[in-house]
Amino acid sequence: MAPALRLLLAFLAIGSCTAADHVDLWPMPKTVSHGTQRLYVSNNATMSMAGSKYSDGKAILKDAFQRMLDLMKLNHNADGANPSSSLLTGVNIVVLSTQDELGFEVDESYNLTVPTIGEPLHAQIEAQTVFGALHALQTFSQLCHFEFTSRLIGLNSAPWMISDAPRFPYRGLLIDTSRHYLPLATIKGVIDAMTYSKLNVLHWHIVDEQSFPIEIPSYPKLWNGSYSYSERYTMPDAIDIVRYAEKRGVNVLAEIDVPGHARSWGVGYPELWPSDSCREPLDVSNNFTFKVIDGILSDFSKVFKFKFVHLGGDEVNTSCWTETPHIKEWLNNNHMNVSDAYRYFVLRAQKIAISHGYEVINWEETFNNFGDKLDRKTVVHNWYFLNHEKGSVGNCRIIHACTKNQ
């Protein structure tokens, strides 16, 4: 009987086992079916790419496969004697597209099959892009476990047929390195953990009131606002993080929150403060403020390649604008009240970001206050209201986040 037909019959026989029962995969794939057989993964499991259009020039898959093997063993010696049957010799990965640039809405789908018939027996991954294949390897690693009695890596409930794709293209985690500096190793640990649960956007809230830890070559005194001499990220550090994440299919969204949440900027450049006694938000009347924003975004554009940049715009308390004489004068001269000025600031910052090739994400207050004036491609980042009560977002895209107060 032709192997394909045999395979088909095997699957039909098992067909009734669906994901209704206890499946230890997280997150749950789109469709899962499995059987009842136990297989083992060879000590010398290998990765092949027969039939693949993608050649893995950047070793994305090769390195991921090695990481996966290490994860499966988790420091134990898998040195039991390989059984003569039911032994998976490796994984064959077919990637249909040669594209290996990570980007928003890249195809992350994959099919993973672990058959019980085949000579040699191997798992098969098919994905449109290398990033789908990475997810497939994660899922495969969750099917495997170290067996203490046999000292082999076991894989239960075969054969498996998994077809998976994410429901949403943006599945993010925000880290805040301004309130507390996080060493690079910690950030990389977070990225690794994100891949285990298939999260794919690291939203790096780098700077805020309390500290400015990142190097900005265009304005080198900005990082004088770091907590201390050593609680800093150089530009090469940032590049390192982006590369580390990219290799794992994780996008890095940089945030530079303006005009509020920016008190730390003035440590290096006090002219950015409305006054020495009133230090937030950034001085809207000063052209220098926007020059600095331009410098920051220009430096970012060389490092952060995700198509979006986050410009913040939340929790803007404008009293320092009305209380500082030169700003009050500027408002009068320009026939603006503080709400106009807030809107002016956000929109001007948006334009700067767009000029550097970015699309913009803003926190929801910007939408709540002047949603119809925002750039039409703006993504609104909800954080405050649990239900989208505040009117329709119209044509704006939206990301849902937890409320900050939780």
Binding site: N75, N77, F148, P183, T186, Q210, S211, S230, E231, T234
Partner: protein
Amino acid sequence: MPPKLLTHLILALVAVSGAAAARRHPAPANFTASGNPVYIWPLPKNFTSGTQTLAVDPDLALDPQGAGGGAAAVAEAFERYRHLIFSPWAHAARPASAGYDVARLTVVVASADETLELGVDESYTIYIAAAGGANSIVGGATIEANTIYGAIRGLETFSQLCVFNYDTKNVEVRYAPWYIQDEPRFAFRGLMLDTSRHYLPVDVIKQVIDSMSFSKLNVLHWHIIDEQSFPLEIPSYPNLWKGSYSKSERYTVEDARYIVSYAKKRGIHVMAEIDVPGHAESWGNGYPKLWPSLSYMRKIFPFGLFHLGGDEVYTGCWNLTPHVKQWLDERNMTTKDAYKYFVLKAQEIAIDLNWIPVNWEETFNSFGGSLNPRTVVHNWLGPGVCPKVVAKGLRCIMSNQGVWYLDHLDVPWEQVYTAEPLAGIDDTAQQKLVLGGEVCMWGETADTSDVQQTIWPRAAAAAERMWSQLEAISAQDLETTVLARLHYFRCLLNHRGIAAAPVTNFYARRPPIGPGSCFVQ
């Protein structure tokens, strides 16, 4: 002292004497010549420093010398420390415009003997200076030690002297030239891990071992088994590990061997504990008749000391169980006699296997006079025990639960730091019987998710108490100097991937109360 070391010592003293005469004597405890606290933890025994800043070459090369310099353990340790010193800044580093002052680290190890035993020589000297300066004869950096383990301690200190400069983008050594001569006050500086109340994956144990080496702790007391779970494989009694919490919360024999070998590379002993006769409920899951296969364990755990437990023995079950009561009656034993009988029998078995038995203090409190004279008594119940133990001629390890039980979250770092193993012991001969001490990370309320932030930074406070000289650490002002240095060390631990908790919270392992710098929280 090997002749080469003596020569260097003389040369170093001659070299430094050209500078301000005040610096000929060891600097005031933990201050550099310029008056800054010395950010080395634990504080070395003797040191002098200067005012120069030296640039260190990221391609720092190892120059191994002496009979032991070529040991694989030295080369591996050098690689680990090179990674710690340079890798976080590998991408940012810019070539030094004026060249590097330190391009080579010479490591001289006098002895090729790699035996790791309690009391092995852990002393070392470090000399760092720029070449060709008016005050120096030799340029570069040199570590000298009698054993490879002293060299490993020296490498740790060296790594703490190297700091990344965010302006010049180079790794530097400040306050050079440095001359450091160091050795520990106590030979036994332990941390206890409890893998019975919660299983800790091998990776977590490895990370704990790494963090121990950063503060020069040198004994991992592995409390493997207790009432709640039996996670270790005992090949001759393969049903015992059915007492594990689950099929995956287990250690194979290879895991145990691997941990011992991983620790040895860092000069850390692993002292295993099989707590008998109490704390052994989990054994009943596998075998009704209980006796450990200690001879098998002897091959896995080469450390000279083996912990036999013997604490908190509630003998009620012995009286209530008919066949045990019958056994007691036949021998005219009370349950107290039986407890003694059990402990002493276990001791005999251990001694036959060439182990020195360590027992918790109840054994001493109940029948101290009958304990084998080789016994090391492990104090834990409270203060004032070691004085009684050493007065009887037995050796002692201090773990007074009031100060050195890490699961007691309400013991702030100051109390950990000021606990003194020799308190109440004035006789110098008796003082020698105190091997050292141990901080205990009991696992009832600590698991993988929070074990490291419970251990650190308080274990570091105890680590300095056990390593550094009494006079020097007593001379420091706790809330200014020591705190500043401990803050610095905590930030260093964080930077090395160890989740050390904020220093100044009253309760251990609490999160920071608000935003702030590592150096002040």
